[in-house]
Each structure stands twice: as C-alpha cells, then as structure tokens.
C-alpha cells in the first residue's frame, strides 16, 4: 500500500469515529427505549466497518471472523428486543 491509500484510509477511519461519537450522543439522550435500540444498531453496524478497516491496516484476517460473529450477535439482540416489546417471547 502506498501513501495515498494509507492517508485516505486514515481519513475515513477518523470520519467513522466521528460518526460513532455522534451516534453515541443519540444513544445517551434518546427519549425512549426505541431510540436507544436504533442508536445501538447503528453503532454496531458502524463498528463492523471500523473493524474491517482495522483488520486491513493490521493485516490480520482473523478480525473478519470476529466481525461476522459480532454482526450476528447485534442482529439477534435487536430481534429479541422487538419480540420482547410485542410480549410474545
């Protein structure tokens, strides 16, 4: 990887960190439970992208396996909250 690719990747990492900080603000001050769950979903999806970027810069493929399991767990968490709100669990 040359310098242009590395600088573009670091700029995009900083932008993704800023996006996750803004989402965390919504997670802290969301008025209801639904807003917090939405912010949690966006946080996990953003951290999927960030973990893929870290796997590329560290050059370790094992982080992608962690990424797959993390996405699966976030999906199951949101589905369980939805089923709990419908009181049919």
């Amino acid at each position: 990887m040359n310098d242009i690719v590395l600088s573009l990747l670091s700029i995009s990492g900083i932008i993704m960190l800023l996006a996750m900080v803004l989402t965390f603000v919504r997670f802290m001050l969301g008025p209801s439970l639904i807003d917090r769950v939405i912010a949690f979903d966006v946080l996990t999806v953003g951290s999927l992208g960030l973990m893929g970027l870290i796997a590329l810069t560290e050059n370790r493929q094992i982080y992608l396996d962690v990424n797959i399991i993390y996405g699966l767990l976030s999906f199951v968490a949101v589905i369980i909250v939805g089923k709990y709100l419908r009181k049919t669990l």
């Binding site: 690719v5 209801s32 639904i34 396996d65 797959i68």
Partner: protein, 110 residues
C-alpha cells in the same frame, strides 16, 4: 493494480461519509420512525461501500468480506422492521407533522 487500490480507498471514504450522514440524521430527525429510516438505510449503504472498497484493496479477502456484506444487507432491514412494527403496535407516538399512517389503516380493515 495501484489504481485499483486507490479506487478501493475512495470507496471506503465514501462509505465513511455515508455513515457520518446516518449519524447526523439520527441526531436531527424528530421521531423514532424517521430515525430508524435514516439509520438503517444509510448505515447499510455505508457498510456495503466500505466492504466493497476493502475487497478492492485486498482481493484475497473477497470471500469473507462478501459474506459480511450479504449478512448485513439481509439482516439489517429485517431487524429494524421487526422493532418498529412492535413499537407501532405498542402505540409509540409519532411526530406532530405526520399526515398518514398506512399501517394503522391496514390493520383496521383486516
């Protein structure tokens, strides 16, 4: 080869900007329904762009990156649909500017 890597890096940058737009939309929207619409669509598009860009930079990782991309594009709309349908059934309040609620009309007729 080098142009392919630069194209991938630009795609990762575009995906990061789309994620930033999703976060700003989450902060600015007045209502939970509008928030889930902004958050789900924009974050799915952002992760898709990031994974495709990473696959262009490192082509030997294409399999796992494509699995993550396919998984996110299958599960993210499904989970937000389940969550907001449960919230609508519980009578979660809408914004005062909402003019039409087609899900309530459908449930009334059937």
């Amino acid at each position: 080869m080098e142009y392919l890597q630069i194209t991938g890096a630009v795609m990762v940058l575009l995906g990061a900007i789309v994620l930033l737009i999703a976060a700003i939309g989450l902060l600015r929207m007045p209502d939970s329904y509008l928030r889930v619409q902004v958050g789900t669509k924009a974050s799915t598009a952002g992760v898709a762009l990031i994974m495709l860009g990473l696959a262009l930079i490192m082509p030997s990782w294409f399999g796992k990156l494509f699995i993550i991309l396919l998984f996110v594009m299958m599960t993210n709309p499904l989970s937000s649909n389940v969550l907001m349908r449960a919230a609508h059934r519980n009578g979660h309040p809408m914004s005062s500017k909402t003019v039409v609620d087609q899900l309530a009309e459908d449930e009334k007729t059937t």
